[in-house]
Symmetry: C2
Subunit: 553 residues, 2 copies
């Protein structure tokens, strides 16, 4: 988000409104401002000219008045790191869901779609950002594919990313830790090209000298801490940490003890991956704020981490405070601790459906369709592997465990998981045993399979796994649940096999149906499709599903 | 200070040293690190490669070892706002005095020399910065002259400053508050040209809607707060404040109560104007730190304000912490609360006299000499004005008072002050009554006269005032003390009438002699020359000496 310099005319108008010599464009009247510098709650009207706050006080004349009696004004929320694709909808539809929740800005890595569609994905997100009401800072995806060993739909080397560095984009999460520590030339070339900007990190469980080596590469932040000890070590080494409140990576609950006033200028909140049902039922950044305060964190520290700290971390001057000269991106909450959003102003104006309708069209490129390039599969493709190490899935975490073969397989929830290359390359299929899903019968399939987005299936019978896989193949990508030999529910995701072109509400409805159906398989996970989707992610310890089968990480 | 991007080779070397695969260039061994994120003091060796810290730990091999047993490592200090000219020496000589005190970086406004010599002054400071050991961020002086009504040696309009905006300089303190609030076209043009960078402020006593108007112009910070109430109002309006520990503007003592952990990420320390004697006797940023802690401020808040906060405010990524990936600018202190500096590393290496000797030559341009362009004056030029309002000088503050004519003039310390245009323009002389110097006899003269740097004289007799003025005129600028009709002491400042080309120690010695001589006049001020030099400053309330005589501000 490169700031557009203000013109002389804009400055003159802002000054005149601040002095009360001209009426404001908008005044928010009668509310209290939560001052994130001092921690005070103070009664003040807020005068706005154009997209900037120009005064805190009273008695302003205005063309438009927003009544805020009984409400508290806080700076708009910043999602420090997210993949919009995990919402299963396109950026415009995602914005409609999250902006009303108070998220006025986000740093987004189009990593998922880029793994399927390459640089065209980054370009599509940038075009979307230009039309959006909120502020979207699109980054250049650093690791497509996540590791050189992966079979993804695209490969973005340093040369492919160089134009984005020149255009001022920052480099998104550097997850190729072995490449950094091993000084792989292409990785170094990327780091050097983006040097000087904040380079986003991704370093789960990295510690000691290996962590120092990673930081010596100029990496500024991390969003993969799982424990307080890990977070403290990273803070002590000067990293800014993003505490994640994702649909699967629900780290915030574990990390709340470090979210203090002492540390909060080095802590941001982020969602990383949040599905549309979670957004609808629990919220977005507002849910993260609510959760942190409920866990006992100081509201001043929490709201700073949700706005001021990320703004400063990314070098966005004059954002993240409700103060004169700052961006008029303001959330009105009816309850500060509960973070109940009663209204949102973005770019100086109240956010309502009309503003979404007024956006310029931003169609999904035709090339993003038809991305599931694989043959039809059959039960023979899903023969159970020999007994061996098992992938242990954890609720609420991206981390997995390498579990030994159980003493009593019949009494366990062992299931077979398979990964099918779907980008028209090798056509390979890898299979491994998993535990933790709780599956009793049926199968689940998904073309969302981090980060290469090959087709993942988990199930109790080869026939049902084949049906589930062929179902999502036929719809050009998506999720499917098969129970008792029949498709119980499905959600087509034809955009790169990752996203729908439908509104977020409709996708959330279908996802609710899917989840209910998934429960019928016996699944004990809150969000079995996302847990399935993260099974292949090769950059998260400790056990993964690859095209070669089980792999320890 | 535009960061130079790291090359692939530098990144590879940094990573290898961090991992312990190659010996470090320097290791600081045996000390404790003061962690400004967590507030912890921890035992750690620090490994350095090139100009970066790459590891905290132990057991590093190194080409050079710095023994730090019993010492504490803190990030190098950043002076958030200063005018090097006030040290009375050139930038190279100034660096020799302050870097050994721990000031590894400074944001400097060449405003004083620019008022005499124009853009050549900015260019000279930029050339100096290129050769210096420490990091000097030179700004573009926004207000030359300070107000349009001033008669200075140069005039820098928006057109003259535009190349500096293009070169990435930030705009220095915008002291023309009436110009901002009145939307003067040239002021708006400057603000627009530098929009997007932090624009430095200067807003003494500004409050309420006028302050909002000033902030609506995009101004980010202020270093002119005199009271806690003023500082709190500015913090509440989102400003970053620089708490000043100058030779005259000694605001830190009054503002210490706000330097808390809650506010410290919006507070920096600065010196603004600090003379060479103060630097030698009390220190530089180290003195500010020592003073703040002695006043009861939390050391964590103080050290943050001295390094991390200014680094972040000015957008210097990966500076201001002792952590891997950060700049290896480190101060070793033998006592944290006393801030006793035992050694300094800058750009990865110990600072010693050899490094100063290795700097490329940076001669003062010949054009900066011969700047005192006025006729010889005589006693007739200093006839006392009629009784009227009096300028009241305050110890330790730039603020002055407009004082009524005393009931008993004979029993007061009334003296006459005069300002003589010296840039070859009007040749005007303004006179006014002053109180607060404590002068009993004699006269003081100075070609340092903020900010236009006309010649200031204060004295008890017209003859002695003329002699003092003619003495500094004859030496091409400087300070002089006249007692009993004779020159008791003088300090030539031939560079623009502001600076010497001699080493700081020599200038400090002469200044000590001058001060002692000034005491003989009865002066009760600790630093009468600086108080004299600030008498004409038209952008500080409440009473000033101008070429038209007394003026209320």
């Amino acid at each position: 988000m490169v700031e557009v310099p203000l013109t002389q005319a804009q400055l003159a108008r802002q000054i005149a409104v601040a002095l009360g010599e001209e009426p404001a464009d908008v005044v928010i009247r009668g509310g209290r401002v939560f001052d994130l510098v001092t921690g005070e709650l103070r009664r003040a009207d807020v005068a706005i000219a154009g997209e900037r706050i120009v005064g805190l006080g009273e008695g302003y004349e205005a063309r438009e008045v927003v009544e805020a009696e009984g409400l508290t004004l806080v700076p708009g929320f910043v999602d420090a790191h997210c993949h919009i694709e995990s919402s299963l909808v396109a950026p415009y539809a995602w914005e409609e869901a999250v902006l009303m929740r108070g998220t006025v800005a986000a740093v987004c890595d189009p990593h998922e779609l880029a793994n399927v569609c390459g640089t065209e994905a980054i370009d599509f997100f940038r075009r979307s950002a230009e039309g959006m009401v909120m502020h979207l800072q699109v980054q250049a995806s650093s690791c497509v594919p996540a590791l050189p060993s992966e079979e993804a739909g695209a490969k973005l080397d340093a040369e492919a990313l160089a134009p984005y560095a020149k255009a001022g984009l920052s480099l998104a999460e550097m997850m190729n830790v072995p490449g950094v520590l091993g000084r792989a030339p292409d990785v170094l070339a990327k780091l050097a090209a983006f040097s000087g900007q904040p380079i986003d990190g991704h370093a789960p469980c990295l510690a000691g000298r290996a962590l120092d080596g990673y930081l010596a590469a100029g990496i500024a932040n991390d969003h993969e801490c799982s424990t307080v000890d890990e977070a403290l070590e990273k803070l002590r080494r000067g990293m800014t940490l993003f505490l994640r409140a994702g649909s699967v990576g629900r780290d915030l609950a574990r990390l709340a003890p470090i979210l203090t006033l002492t540390h909060c200028d080095h802590l941001c909140l982020c969602t990383d991956d949040r599905d549309p049902l979670d957004i609808r039922e629990h919220g977005h950044m507002d849910a993260a704020i609510r959760q942190a305060i409920a866990l006992g964190c100081d509201p001043l520290a929490v709201y700073r981490a949700a706005s001021l700290t990320p703004a400063r971390h990314f070098g966005w001057r004059q954002r993240g405070l409700v103060a004169p000269g700052y961006a008029a991106d303001i959330v009105l909450v009816s309850d500060l601790a509960e973070c109940r959003v009663a209204g949102v102003l973005c770019r100086g104006r109240i956010v309502d459906p009309e503003r979404f309708e007024a956006r310029p069209p931003c169609p999904v490129p035709e090339a993003f369709h038809g991305s599931v390039k694989m043959r039809e599969v059959s039960a023979a493709d899903f023969a159970p592997p020999a007994p061996g190490p098992v992938i242990g899935v954890r609720e609420g975490s991206l981390l997995t465990d390498a579990v030994a073969w159980p003493a009593n397989p019949a009494g366990s929830d062992l299931a077979v998981a398979a990964l099918i290359e779907r980008h028209g390359g090798s056509g390979r299929i890898g299979r491994a045993w998993v535990t933790g899903f709780g599956l009793k019968h049926g199968a689940l399939a998904s073309t969302v399979g981090h980060d290469s987005h090959n087709l993942c299936v988990v199930g109790t019978s080869p026939e049902e796994m084949a049906l589930a896989a062929n179902t999502v193949r036929a719809s050009g990508g998506g999720f499917a649940v098969v129970i008792e030999g029949r498709v119980a529910a499905s959600l087509p995701l034809p955009v790169g096999g990752l996203m729908s072109e439908r509104p977020a509400a409709e996708v959330a409805d279908t996802l609710a149906t899917l989840r209910a159906a998934a429960k019928e398989t016996g699944s004990v996970l809150e969000n079995p499709f996302l847990s399935l989707a993260f099974l292949p992610l090769p950059v998260i310890p400790a056990a993964r599903l690859t095209l070669g089968g089980f792999q320890a990480v």
